[in-house]
């Protein structure tokens, strides 16, 4: 056999050397794949959405996503796609801590869509840069809470502070809640803010065009531009975008102002269990409708439906909506929802 003849032409040592070289060549073909599975190169920018009222469900999701991002070696940078007017203080702090930790490990850029105010601003503050659109709204660094007031004694609780503490103690607690927020923002962006702590604590909101000058934002840019910047900072030549949705479907809960407090409503047709009071909130007030406004427009819907059924008065409902003033003198034309639906 010619083959056997060729093999026997080499000594045993030479044959082993040939096999080893052949094995090395074969193994070399697989080295990149094996190395890659254990040390995957980062080529992904994760876009984590932070949208809707800030509550525990949103904080849960954002924390989970950012933890996964930190542990996923393929993700090299994060962009926070923000669109929220704030919400619960603790949920805001949870997201703040999560973003802070992520920002410590990789580039994080916040991209504000319509609004990032109050608790939303809190959450994104540790980002390396804040991108805004020219008419985005940012700011509102402060606490939203009603003035404490004394109430008659409640008989039964085990201690005097069980059903609400002293009025002055409540003022102090609210001030501490506000200062906690302001101090955190000064720690994160005090060098960027072109204003004093007192001015920051005014809790004003700013349009994007103004925010890039007063330090509440860093750049004018869209989500795409924020993603590209994040990829560049992570030294990615090519990259993929992995968008991660968070929070409850449909943007719930809905925040509503009443005369006394803020409430979160967890259903479009809420029952008792779907309404959660928010005595303290990091919320931009201007983005939260008052219950009277909602009732007024809902009443128009009901009225229009009734009118449509009767085939009369459809124009009245339209007029009411066009007038759109709360101080309408036509109270008969703008009934409350309760009046309208009561038997």
């Amino acid at each position: 056999m010619p083959a056997k003849k060729y093999i026997e032409a080499f000594s045993m040592r030479q044959q082993v050397a040939i096999v080893v070289v052949a094995a090395a060549v074969v193994a070399g073909l697989f080295v990149p794949a094996v190395y890659g599975t254990t040390n995957e190169p980062a080529d992904t920018v994760a876009v984590v959405e932070v949208e809707g009222p800030v509550n525990a469900a949103l904080a849960d999701d954002v924390e989970t996503e950012l933890t996964e991002v930190r542990n996923n070696d393929s993700v090299g940078a994060v962009v926070l796609k923000i669109d929220t007017s704030g919400g619960q203080p603790v949920a805001s702090e949870r997201m703040y801590k999560s973003v802070q930790r992520t920002s410590d490990e990789m580039p994080v850029i916040a991209s504000v869509q319509d609004i990032s105010a109050s608790g939303g601003y809190y959450a994104m503050a540790p980002a390396d840069d804040i991108y805004v659109l020219p008419t985005s709204t940012v700011g509102s660094i402060g606490l939203n809470a009603p003035a404490p007031s004394s109430s008659p004694p409640a008989e039964g609780p085990s201690g005097p502070d069980k059903t609400g503490s002293n009025e002055i103690e409540q003022w102090a607690q609210q001030q501490t809640l506000a200062d906690t927020f302001v101090d955190a923002m000064m720690a994160e962006r005090g060098d960027e803010f072109e204003m004093s702590r007192e001015e920051v604590a005014h809790a004003d909101v700013y349009l994007g065009t103004e925010a890039i000058h007063n330090g509440f934002a860093d750049e004018i840019g869209s989500l795409d531009e924020a993603v590209h910047e994040a990829a560049e900072r992570a030294n990615m030549r090519t990259y993929e975008v992995d968008t991660r949705e968070t929070g409850m479907d449909g943007g719930l809960p809905i925040l509503i102002q009443t005369d006394d407090e803020l409430v979160a409503v967890y259903s479009n047709d809420p029952g008792y269990a779907d309404i959660e009071p928010m005595p303290f909130a990091y919320v931009y007030d201007g983005a939260v409708p008052h219950i009277d406004t909602i009732e007024r427009f809902a009443a128009d819907d009901v009225e229009a439906a009734v009118d449509a059924t009767d085939a009369t008065g459809g124009e009245d409902a339209t007029d009411d909506e066009a007038n759109g003033t709360e101080e309408s003198d036509g109270t008969d034309d703008v009934p409350s929802l309760s009046r309208e639906v009561s038997p």
Binding site: Q15, V16, V19, V31, T37, D73, N166, I168, A172, A187
Partner: protein, 348 residues
Amino acid sequence: MSRAMTLAVAFVATIALILGGAAGIGYLTADGADSPPDLENDHYLDEELISDGTPGEADVTMSSTGPAQMVLIDAGAADGAMPVDPLALLGLGADGAADRDVRPLVNALIENGHEVRIHTPDPDAAQRPPADGEPTALGADLAEADAFVTFRTEYADEEVEDIEVFVENDGHVLLASDASAEFDGPGAASLDSALGVTTHPGYVYNMEEHDLNYQRVYAEPDIDSPITRDVDRVVFQSATPVGASTTQGTLRPIDGSQLSTTRESTEEPLLVHQGNVVIAGDSAFMSPENAQRVDNDVLIGNLADFLVENDRDAGTQPPEGDADPPSEPVPPEGELPDDGLPEEEPPG
């Protein structure tokens, strides 16, 4: 071992060595095994961050030792236009609606032997105006009083005239207004005009130094006066600036205070004493909780003295049902129209 077996072992061992090495190096250089970052958040740990919520204590004392006086209090709408207690809207419990807001003052008066009477606004007064010559309910009460404390800013024209006559006849009046009064119905200008005082739109706040909230501002006296005797500093809450043409004592907000409508610094007083009238731009500074802050209790004691130290002889002086028509009021600082507000329908 056969030759073929030897060669196979060499082949497999070489591949295993190279790929195992690659995997090992990859694992060792991966980022995921890092320990968690040690993040410092010192701003959460600062002990000065925690505001002091110690309520404090109040000791309201009077220095006046004069004869017993009768002080009439209209607490019908202590907090803006709406009585605190919804029952007050029905004419029930109106005297209890703002009881807390005035209780430290009332207790000081009672403890010093003075009489306190509560005027309960008649919710139907607008529908049943008094006949000609018949005194208003307020006028009848004022006729028996030596001093008048009111938290209301809106009165019928006849009642404003009664208050004006009362002041002209040596009655002392304490008006506790607030920043929300300017948002109420036809407004408080008629009463302000009758008393010769002014209130200015907006509230005073202080972001630099305040009592637990930017709207709870400190105010200090600028001159020595009986009203501000022994007062170093008081707290007013959501207070509106007040003024008068001549002042005998004022409390002005401290440095750093600003006015909400202008966002500029303001020194306009929050309490003014002019003759028989004291006006405060805050209706909450006498509540039990606020009486316990800084020197509010001293101020309340001084105001109690002001109320009872008057020259009025209620038995012989109007207003009464047959009282003479009041003289023209003196417009304060020329800022208000001579004829007050145009007559308007009260809000429905």
